[in-house]
Symmetry: C7
Subunit: 97 residues, 7 copies
């Protein structure tokens, strides 16, 4: 069974981050603050061509933590792990501590 | 938990301004005049590429006060603060005293 | 509270002209002839970029009297004044005595 | 009150021609033959820009008699006269004796 | 009353050919074989501009016999004659004996 | 009556192939295997222009056997023969023994 | 009857892979993990032209194992085998052990 997916064109393979509902000391986070729809970039495609035929590289890279749109993304199961495929221009931004 | 968001492409992170309903001396503003849908620019993306592949920079900058469209914008919570993401070309104009 | 709006891209800020229903000597204009949807240009944006990335300036300028489409336009209140924002290519023409 | 309209972009100001229902000697034209939707060009806009930013002039000129599409056109009253605004590429052709 | 129409852009003026339902010797053609929607080209427009602003001439010429799509075309009466206006790229092909 | 059609632009004239339901020795083919929607190319148009105005030739040629989409195509009767017109980019592929 | 299909433009002929529901030693795979919609590339078209008329080659090649979208694809039977035709830009990625 296939273990690794190399996305095509400007697709990005992301593993969603499930935010902790409690702090380390067990205090519940307010429900609203944990609703950040984010994920870690696992693999990126080569990018798509512009009108002139030049390849436009993807704007995020492996390891980035990204903010995902509320909807969209294609679910992909590789072995027992669940990932999501997004188009580069649907990813909202990169998240930083 | 992520504190900072760097928008991608031509997205703009905005913190909405809640207009005061009263003057400093407590007089109520006429309800219609306080309905200006505005906000402050927190962060901007690098811009998008035109047909020739050149990057078109975003037209607003950090610190600008901007007039927002009545609808649209993606809500984003970072920690306990609420922001909104807009595309650069959906922002109507910059506001000045 | 913001007093001045600088439109972005090819937007045009217009103050609608409410046509007089009577002549100076008080005679009622025929209802049909006063239905001209017009306004005065208050401020214009820098314009939008064409495919080559060059800025295409807006075709009207501050002070022009313009013929507006029957529908469309975004209402904007600045202080106690009401304005409307139109895209440059939605404005039908310039009006002259 | 405004008397003259200069159309913007590739718009064309037309005064519709109401075809005579009778010949000079009073004979009724067959109803079908008088249904030609035509008009006289009063004023034309400067034209629109192509992808390269060059202005493409309008294809008709002041004084032309033109064949109009059955639908479309924006009604414009200037003083007590009624005109219609069409986009250049909606005008079907020029009519000649 | 206008007698001649010069089409604009890439429009083509066509006079529809009503196929004979019988052979010269009076034998009825099978109904299906006479349903060819064809016409003769009366006049053609100058063509439309491509992205570079160059005029692309119309692909058919005056006198051609053409195969017309089943639908579409704008009916135009000039005097007591009925014609149809088609866009060049809606005409299916040229017919030859 | 017209016998020959020269397609315009990137249109392709095809004569559909009705697959034999039995082998030469009379054995019925399984119904599913005979459902190949194919045809023979009779005539092709000159092609269409790209953005630069250059003609892009049609990708199939007279005599090719082609795989046709399940839907689409314009029926054309020439004399007592039935043909179909497809756009070049709707034809799925070429078939080979 | 045709045995071989050469796809046109940027189409890709794929033979779907039916994932084994059990391991070699007969243990049932969890149902969710076997739902990978994948296939093997049998043949690819030459690619499509960009705005400049240059051919953009297809991004996958014969023999690749690819991840297919949940929907779409045209079913094609050649002899007693079933294949599917996809457009190159609908294929999600290439799969690797």
């Amino acid at each position: 069974m296939a273990k690794r997916l190399v996305p095509l064109l400007n697709r990005v393979l992301v593993e969603k981050i499930v935010p902790p509902s409690k702090t380390n000391s067990g205090i519940l986070f307010p429900e609203k603050s944990t609703k950040l729809n984010s994920g870690r970039v696992i693999a990126v495609g080569p990018g798509i061509r512009d009108k002139e035929g030049k390849i436009i590289p993807v704007t995020v890279k492996e390891g980035d933590t990204v903010l995902l749109p509320e909807y969209g993304g294609t679910e992909v199961r590789l072995g027992d792990k669940e990932y999501h495929l997004f188009r580069d221009d649907d990813i909202l931004g990169t998240l930083h501590e």
